[in-house]
């Protein structure tokens, strides 16, 4: 068995995302004059709790930005502020050229939101759910039918259009939730933990769907606490911890910069792990705990005195743990 943290980073499946990511990045996110989302110094407090603590965030037009952080990092609060369902205490928020919260309605009209919690109308059919949202998003009568058909196609639910939502599988409901957010062809899509709690096959299905969306040119902000999701889908990853952005960059750049090329995982009983950590500290090797093992990062720089262990490619999770000291899924 390979260690579980390996699977996001190796194998053929990962090659093609890197190619398109590079292509999209090359097509210019460096100095886009009018980003889809711009947050500057945003602070949001709930009583004594500061959920978002001076967050800066930019989503360039046409790119996918992943907000990666553990539960409670402020990701959902950030998404709520983008639809003015939460109002920032400090800072500036601009969405699609509109200043929030004062001018949020026109921004919302061009935005699609996929919530973390399924809030479909369960006694309605698939098609009726889309019909309701075609009205909420003000699609003109003449375009409504085509818009619903298009959304059904995106979610691959054309055959189930007449089925009641409570008859659908979890994966289909998620697809419908995404289709509902796309019925008005939004310029910007917010996805709040789009695949949380789903099994791997369904997750991959949704990734394909999100990927297609981005190739069609929509700007995407996606919050996630799944490393692999961020690594596969995001052009830019923003690592969030305690309401702040602690690192921003392309996934591969972040890994290279913070965790190097390779990691060495040393397994053993707790006493052995402590010993390895002590040695690493003495020699100045960066390490992180992975539950059952100690991982020595930048293993490519180790000399012959390195302890026995399994070498693997460094990944975003290493970066995350290194930067925040927090374990995530």
């Amino acid at each position: 068995m390979r260690p579980p943290s390996d699977d996001g980073c190796s194998g053929a499946v990962f090659v093609s995302p890197i190619t398109w990511r590079a292509r999209r990045v090359a097509s210019g996110f460096v100095s886009d004059p009018s980003p889809a989302i711009r947050l500057r110094g945003v602070v949001k407090r709930y009583g004594a709790v500061t959920a978002v603590d001076g967050l800066d965030l930019t989503v360039p037009e046409g790119t996918c930005v992943g907000l990666l952080g553990p539960n409670g990092a402020g990701k959902s609060t950030t998404i709520k502020m983008l639809t003015a369902q939460a109002i920032a205490d400090e800072g500036e928020i601009e969405v699609l050229g509109h200043t929030l919260p004062a001018d949020s309605k026109p921004a919302r009209a061009q935005m699609g939101v996929v919530p973390q919690l399924d809030n479909l109308d369960v006694t309605l059919t698939v098609e009726q759910n889309l019909l309701v949202f075609s009205h909420l998003y003000r699609i003109p009568r003449s375009e409504r039918k085509a818009a619903i058909d298009r959304a059904l196609d995106i979610a691959n639910l054309r055959e189930r259009r007449g089925a009641r939502v409570d008859e659908l599988s979890g994966g289909m409901r998620r697809r419908l939730l995404i289709a509902r957010a796309l019925v008005h062809q939004p310029r910007l899509v917010l996805l709040d933990e789009p695949t949380v709690g789903l099994d791997p096959q369904v997750r991959q299905e949704l990734w394909a769907l999100i990927d297609r969306l981005r190739t069609e040119g929509a700007s995407i902000l996606m919050s996630t606490h799944y490393i692999e999701e961020a690594q596969r889908l995001a052009d830019t990853v923003v690592v969030v911890s305690k309401g702040q952005a602690v690192a921003v960059g392309r996934p591969s750049d972040l890994v290279a910069e913070h965790a190097g090329a390779e990691a060495l995982e040393v397994y053993g009983p707790p006493a052995r792990l402590r010993e390895v950590e002590e040695v690493a500290q003495m020699r100045g090797w960066p390490t992180r705990r992975t539950g059952t093992s100690v991982t020595i990062l930048r293993a490519e720089d180790l000399d012959g005195e390195a302890p026995e262990g399994e070498r693997r490619v460094a990944n975003l999770e290493d970066v995350f743990v290194l930067l925040t000291g927090e374990e995530i899924a």
């Binding site: 949020s104 309605k105 919530p115 909420l136």
Partner: protein, 268 residues
């Protein structure tokens, strides 16, 4: 007073500016959903007042022949219109709204669309009051079977029921926005709704009540609804402007308060 700071800029929109498209969107959602539960809703909203009508009509009707110059079935047949309006507006507003924003998270989805809290609350209240306008007529139709004479003035009853329903729907939304838990609704039902329901001149005239109860009845919107319905059926007079005015003011105040409290609840 509350210690929560309220100086933050709130969400968009100038008060009183309602986008028709936003109202339509919320109404369409309600109408489409109504298709899946209308039987249960129509049943509970109409059968209960009809039972009251029949029980009181036969029960008291055998003891009382005339009330304020009306046959008892005429008196109670018109009075229970207000009961039907109350039941079909305040309870769906209280429970439905609470379920939609707390459990189903429906309002999260609606407010992420180009719809503001003001439009959401207004559309919900309009929808519930439209239903109340229809359901409110059921006891009157049943009473016709039992001897209430039809009159042209009855055509006004759906509109009166609509206006009254708007006030009670707004009141119900207000309650659901203020309450922390759905269990707390029973406090409101027991201490506000039941007394108002009884002291409204529905089953017995308030003229026989002690003075304090008569004063209470006069600030009870349901009483004004009962009077207005009765007068519409048996003959309107100038005082009905007062009844209508009271209901309209009640509706407007409850509506604005519901928007205000719901915004505090939904926009954090």
């Amino acid at each position: 007073m509350s210690a929560v700071p309220t100086t933050r800029p709130t969400r968009p929109g100038r008060p009183g500016r309602l986008d028709r498209a936003a109202l339509t969107g919320v109404l369409v959602r309600e109408i489409v959903n109504f298709g899946s539960y209308w039987r249960a809703s129509a049943f509970s909203s109409t059968v209960e007042p009809t039972i009251y009508l029949i029980a009181f009509g036969f029960g008291f009707g055998s003891l009382v022949s005339k009330v304020n110059g009306l046959d008892y079935v005429q008196f109670v047949g018109t009075g229970t219109v207000a009961t039907a309006v109350l039941f079909s507006s305040v309870f769906p507003a209280m429970f439905g709204t609470f379920v939609k924003y707390t459990y189903q998270k429906t309002y999260d989805a609606i407010l992420a669309a180009p719809v503001d809290t003001e439009e959401l609350v207004t559309a919900e209240a309009l929808w519930i009051s439209a239903r109340a306008g229809v359901f409110g007529c059921v006891p009157m139709l049943v009473a016709i079977v039992f001897g209430l004479d039809p009159s042209w003035g009855m055509l006004l009853v759906p509109f009166i029921a609509f206006v009254a329903g708007f006030g009670w729907a707004s009141f119900g939304i207000l309650i659901s926005a203020v309450m922390k838990s759905i269990d707390n609704f029973s406090y409101v039902t027991s201490t506000v709704i039941t007394p108002l329901f009884l002291v409204a001149g529905t089953f017995f005239p308030i003229s026989g009540l002690p003075e304090w109860a008569r004063i209470l009845a006069n600030v009870n919107p349901l009483y004004h609804c009962v009077q207005l319905v009765r007068d519409a059926v048996f003959g309107l007079s100038a005082i009905d402007l007062w009844h209508l005015g009271f209901m309209v003011v009640f509706g407007l105040v409850a509506w604005r308060l519901a928007i205000n409290r719901m915004e505090k609840r939904l926009i954090t």
